[in-house]
């Protein structure tokens, strides 16, 4: 048996209720069910998660690094879009 022809899956873990799933890495697996099992065994061994998503890596549509200039640089000069002019109470986490 060989895993060389197994597709790659991107793994997203929700660390606790109320938070978003975050990308944590990827695993190889022959299908979605075993991708979940591999993700669970690889990335949630130390109580990191309450929910896992796996997505075939081939299904991820990525922006073109060549277009980074036109996509992202225009936002650099628009600091008023950043919500940095508010005081955030210490009790509010995860913002």
């Amino acid at each position: 048996m060989s895993g060389h022809d197994w597709p790659l899956w991107e793994v997203f873990v929700r660390s606790k209720g109320g938070l978003s799933h975050r990308h944590v890495g990827s695993v190889h697996a022959p299908d979605s069910e075993l991708a979940l099992a591999h993700a669970r065994d690889t990335y949630t061994r130390r109580l990191e998660g309450v929910s896992i998503w796996v997505v075939p890596s081939a299904e991820i549509v990525a922006s073109d690094p060549e277009q980074a200039g036109e996509l992202f640089e225009p936002a650099e000069s628009k600091i008023y879009r950043h919500p940095t002019f508010y005081d955030i109470p210490d009790e509010v986490k995860h913002i």
Binding site: M1, S2, G3, A29, P30, L34, A37, H38, D41
Partner: protein, 247 residues
């Protein structure tokens, strides 16, 4: 040398504890040798769960380290199934399917044990065992219903381990005493459920159940296969050679 347990409770703890210890040690032999990285990690996790269970059970039966590392093969009380060699990945999965399906059905009932420790233990272990059983189911189905080679290997793995099933449902005097005391569930009560659960997984994996073979019994009385001695030699070598060694 450890003394042989005399009361049914201690004996029962040793049986379950030795099952977990020996299967955990067996599965851990895969570490670094798994067919792919993800499966390697997965198998190491299974092994760790089992070693954790063994630690709890043997710790309740006595001095856990003493029992694990300083007992001779004749004093081990595990069933013969768990000491069987890993073989290939399919044979390991076959063993895990046959044992953890039994263990899961047992732990579901052990939660109602009159013994507080065993009931608490079962509540904790039943969840991880459910995962072991699921994973073994999934792999059995995929290997069975996979390629010509994976089907053949899965069938051979089942064939190797099949003769050790009857021992899981054997009730001797010691177990009967533990059942009568309300400590242990009677495994015969879930033998039909076990047989149909295994049959359903094999059917989904397009696998024929192996032909019934002459059952092999005796592990619970210390009559083990040659394989356990080799396993213990490796597991016990360090603490026996350096009895005062510390981490």
């Amino acid at each position: 040398m450890a003394t042989i347990a005399v009361d049914p409770r201690t004996e029962y703890l040793l049986r379950l504890g030795d099952d977990a210890l020996v299967l955990g040690q067996r599965v851990s032999e895969w570490t670094g040798h798994g067919p792919v990285l993800e499966v390697d990690i997965s198998l190491a996790n299974l092994a760790l769960d089992l070693i954790g269970q063994a630690s709890l059970l043997l710790g309740e039966a006595g001095d856990g380290d003493q029992l694990a590392f300083h007992r001779d093969v004749l004093d081990f009380r595990n069933c013969l199934l768990v000491e069987q060699p890993n073989g290939d990945f399919a044979q390991t999965i076959a063993r895990h399917l046959l044992y953890t399906t039994w263990q899961h059905l047992l732990l579901q009932r052990l939660q109602q044990s009159s013994d507080k420790f065993l009931s608490d233990f079962a509540h904790k272990a039943v969840k991880e065992t459910a995962y072991h059983r699921d994973l073994a189911n999934e792999w059995t189905i995929r290997l069975g219903d996979g390629t010509e080679e994976s089907t053949r290997r899965m069938a051979e793995g089942l064939d190797w381990n099949w003769r050790f099933i009857p021992e899981l449902f054997e009730v001797d005097e010691v177990l009967q005493a533990a059942i009568d005391a309300g400590i242990a569930p009677d495994p015969r009560e879930f033998e039909d459920e076990y047989r149909s659960a295994i049959a359903a997984v094999l059917k989904e994996g397009q696998l024929e159940p192996p032909a019934e073979q002459r059952p092999l019994l005796g592990g619970r009385r210390g009559h083990h296969s040659e394989h356990l001695g080799h396993l213990l030699a490796e597991m016990q070598f360090l603490p026996r050679t350096y009895p005062d060694a510390k981490w």
